[in-house]
């Protein structure tokens, strides 16, 4: 099992969700976050005064998936979240040791 964490642009969230549904992804966790990467923030101008906003709003998606569909899920997120411009985000894939469904106590792939 793997935990896929993707940082994406907020307005791409619906596209990513639609891309994941046909792959059999059972659920995902979404968090509104702020941060920056190579994009290094943006400049806002109010009545001539420039302000550097370094932490931009992003969305973090966390998806736990079986090893068999990891590549498909990564591919789907990659395609759905891409605009081609700077600031599109990142995808992190990390190993997942245990998954337990609280209601039934199921573990492993069955709990996903």
């Amino acid at each position: 099992m793997k935990l896929i964490t993707a940082i994406i642009k907020p307005f791409k969230l619906d596209d990513v969700r639609e891309a994941l549904t046909p792959l059999g992804v059972q659920g995902l966790t979404v968090t509104e976050i702020k941060g920056f990467g190579r994009q290094k923030g943006q400049t806002e101008i109010y009545r001539g005064a420039e302000y550097q906003v370094s932490f931009l709003p992003k969305v973090k998606i966390e998806i736990a998936v079986a090893d068999s569909i990891v590549d498909e899920v990564v591919e789907a997120v990659l395609n759905a979240a891409r605009t081609g411009k700077i600031g599109d985000g990142k995808i992190f894939v990390s190993p997942l040791d245990r998954v337990i469904r609280i209601r039934t106590g199921e573990t492993g792939d069955g709990a996903l």
């Binding site: 806002e44 101008i45 109010y46 009545r47 001539g48 005064a49 302000y51 906003v53």
Partner: protein, 412 residues
Amino acid sequence: MLTSTALVLMMTIPGLALFYAGMVRKKNVLATLIQSFAICCIASIVWMVAGYSLALGTGTPWIGDMSRFMLSGIADHFHNGADQAFTLGAGSANPTAMTIPESVYMMFQMTFAIITPALIAGSFAERMKFSALCVFTILWSLLVYAPVAHWVWSPIGWVGGLGAVDFAGGTVVHINSGIAGLITALVIGKRRGYGHEDLSPFNLTYAIIGASLLWVGWFGFNAGSAGGANGRAGMAMLTTQIAAAVGGMAWMAAEWIHNKKPTALGIISGAVAGLVAITPAAGFVLPGPALIIGLIAGIVCFWASAILKPRLGYDDSLDAFGVHGTGGIIGALLTGVFAYGPLSATDANPQGVVGSATQFLRQAEAVCVTIVWCVIITFLILKLIDLTIGLRVSRDEELEGLDMVLHGERIN
């Protein structure tokens, strides 16, 4: 006049309160709202006690009298529940016939006396002590607003006697508050972090709501200043709408060219600039000149707020001078260029006020007189407060934010 009076009060609370509160940081939003509200209360009381009498009592060309101290005598004309119209400047060589009861006239003028000091608050936002603000409002209302209002608006006032006109307060309200704002910004100093920290507005939605309320309220300000429901009031309303619309578009276009984006703060600032500039001219000019006044105000006020201010380095936080001072001066001067005689003609003065080089110079004189008096007295008041109770909060208090430090409240 009752409706106009309520509309002008709406300009300060909630209009100006929200306009300013939307432009400060989250930790100073309540303090900024309270400033407008407190000034409304204080200026009302000062006006009732002595301001009205000093400003619009007949008196001398320099200052009114104390015949209406604590509004004594305001009920003299009452009979069987009705109040006869009173005469402004009664007993002088130049009385002005009024068609409204004194209670209404006094209250209408009170709303002007409220918004003028409230406008100044834009210049010292996020760093002035609340106690200092309260004392400043009392002294400034009596020593700057009341005399200037008397000079310009009293039938025997000496600035009015020069031939200068100010329909609804371009000189008395906007130049006065804008210049006072500039002086206050210079005396109190810049906000901590000005120029390098993020001081961006907390919530521009508030600012847009506030500016919109200002726009609506301005019809009471300008059309109400005709003193009756007549053609001149209608023309003032029309020119007000045109100048506001063109001002908004002009500022927006200027920043679109300059900064590549038309912003929400830009279009509302431009509309306010147009409203300010048309104020002295509203009952003197026709719609075409109103369009030109709005256009010039939008562009020049953008330049003053967004280009000149950063270049000179003073921190007029919310552009009391950039919008009101600059817009007021433009409007006062252009009134002398574009005034259309028949709008202000009377039996005593069949020509009315006509735009000409002479009238332009008269307007310029009034502008200069107001600036000189306002600069000197405002500076002295600020220095007096600074030396006694202090003008500004401490560094740590400013960093924590005025909401918690001064008022013990915050928004979540």
